[in-house]
Symmetry: C2
Subunit: 325 residues, 2 copies
């Protein structure tokens, strides 16, 4: 952790205040250096009060994401969030992480952007990423998996996201196969999993996640208003993006550890319980095929098993699955 991250961590751990002397001792720097760092944090929007009785006290944090603050909030994880980068604007956070991956960076790095000029969704679609209204981020992982097992990562992304949203907002999201989170039938999270692989070996995986957090209805394009929502629209109040981001990384780290330990079936059970696709009649579009059937279950690799109208069991790993009314 950087010095700023350590100061923010200490301030958050001591909501009633912490003295400059204590901070200086903990961080092994001078009290003047503490003061200088605090002053810099104020300049980027942290409201830190100072007083003779309580020392320093964090009163309010800026809405902007701050890598040091995210590290401070997150604390120690196994893999996810070992390194955090925040960009004001990028083309797509997946692009940034791809570059890091190709440069040989270790797994676990998470890249956030306050806005994306070319946010991507599945199947080459555009993803809207308005400035500071949501969380737009990507995670680099290097799991020991084969290409056809990578649906496991889409599955854990959904379960981790769902628990994080529950913890921070109290909202229960539904999972729509393969990777959308819906609240009240409207999409609130999209996940795009990309990989670089040999035929039999994944080299790296990039999980790109978009969460609609604080948009008002007017901030969604007209054509999305019936289909999409934000956490703010659902709870009626602003959601702290830093807190949500931290909780997501923590839960994702936990589920990644579960699949690395061979416990994917356990995550899959949790996923199925939250999935509104199971047991429903669906229309499947995959490549140039289209057929109807009933979604029955998830297999060991995270593929959806659909019983067709003709009684065959089809294994679906992608494409569009539409729920019938």
């Amino acid at each position: 952790m950087t010095t700023d991250a350590k100061i923010l961590a200490a301030l958050r751990a001591n909501p009633d205040g912490v003295s400059g002397a204590q901070l200086a001792e903990q961080l092994a720097i001078s009290r003047a250096a503490v003061w200088a760092r605090i002053d810099d944090l104020r300049k980027v929007g942290y409201d830190i009060e100072a007083g003779p009785h309580f020392g320093y006290k964090l009163v309010a944090s800026p809405d902007a994401l701050h890598a040091d603050d995210l590290l401070a909030r997150l604390g120690k994880t196994k893999v996810v969030g070992r390194d955090i980068q925040v960009f004001e604007e990028t083309t797509s956070t997946n692009d940034v992480v791809e570059k890091l991956a190709r440069d040989g960076v270790k797994e676990g790095v998470v890249v956030f952007a306050e806005s994306q000029t070319k946010g991507r969704g599945r199947l080459g679609r555009v993803w809207q990423s308005p400035t500071r209204k949501g969380l737009w981020f990507s995670v680099l992982l290097r799991p020991n998996l084969r290409p056809q097992e990578t649906t496991q990562l889409t599955v854990i992304s959904a379960t981790a996201m769902r628990r994080a949203i529950k913890t921070v907002t109290g909202l229960s999201a539904d999972i729509k196969w393969p990777n959308d989170l819906l609240i009240g039938g409207k999409k609130v999270v999209g996940i795009l999993t990309e990989m670089s692989a040999e035929v039999d070996r994944v080299r790296y995986i990039i999980i790109g996640i978009g969460v609609d957090v604080n948009q008002g209805m007017a901030e969604f394009p007209e054509e999305l208003r019936r289909l999409a929502t934000s956490l703010k629209l659902e709870t009626g109040e602003e959601v702290c993006r830093g807190e949500l981001a931290t909780e997501i990384m923590r839960e994702l780290d936990r589920d990644y550890a579960r699949i690395c330990a061979g416990k994917f079936p356990e995550v899959a059970d949790e996923w199925e319980a939250a999935c509104i696709t199971m047991g429903r009649n669906v229309t499947v579009h995959t490549g140039d095929r289209k057929f109807r059937g009933r979604a029955e279950s998830l297999d060991d690799d995270g593929a959806l098993l659909v019983r067709t109208e003709h009684g065959h069991l089809e294994r679906i790993i992608g494409g569009d699955v539409t729920l019938e009314k």
Copy 2:
């Protein structure tokens, strides 16, 4: 085709010579321009005679690969070789093609290097690529396949390579699953198939191929001499690399068209007939597992089906498969 490529194509089509006037008319340039191009081709090693009776005549080509010459030799193909680039030295031709792929270049481009400083084999292994002794090249493809179907491309690479070697040298190579070509039990071709993909959709595939063509025994590292061979060692004479490269692209184009037309089973039959792995007892190393069994057949996606000692049928898509004596 470039003007140089057109001139070389005309010279090859007319082994007894072609007049400057004819060339100028065919290419719609002046006779002086023809002369200037011929002069440039001589400078890069083409031995082109000129005489009042026969005009221009191609007497000998340099050993070096030349993009224009490869285009001229290849003529029209559907996809593979629509664009050809030759580098004197690269890290790895797969790296060059990956960059092209990310820049949105269309499928079919083939990149050759006269030497590679960081040639790669499967599973992160090093591939030796001595200058002008072999063919070290990569092909960009954008097939409409899912990640688990990409073994199809490894399969067509092997069948195409095998036919090209037969045509040019008369040698019959055996295929060892998944992607080695052997002559007399020694490896002569290695293929590395890499991809960029979403979970359910391939974005692009890079087939990297290394062919040991003109090495003498002394040019193989000591530890490879019992395991590897070159076409020159097997035929007893130098093989024209330009001719072989052209034939490989032609055959690869043909087999790629076959799988795009849904005829993978047809290629798979050809592959199985040439495969020395089928019907043999094998030891399989895949990830951290190791087991013995009998290789039975190839499935629809190009995976190897192995009957284990315990009677189970295992579907193998990667790892190492060693033939037992």
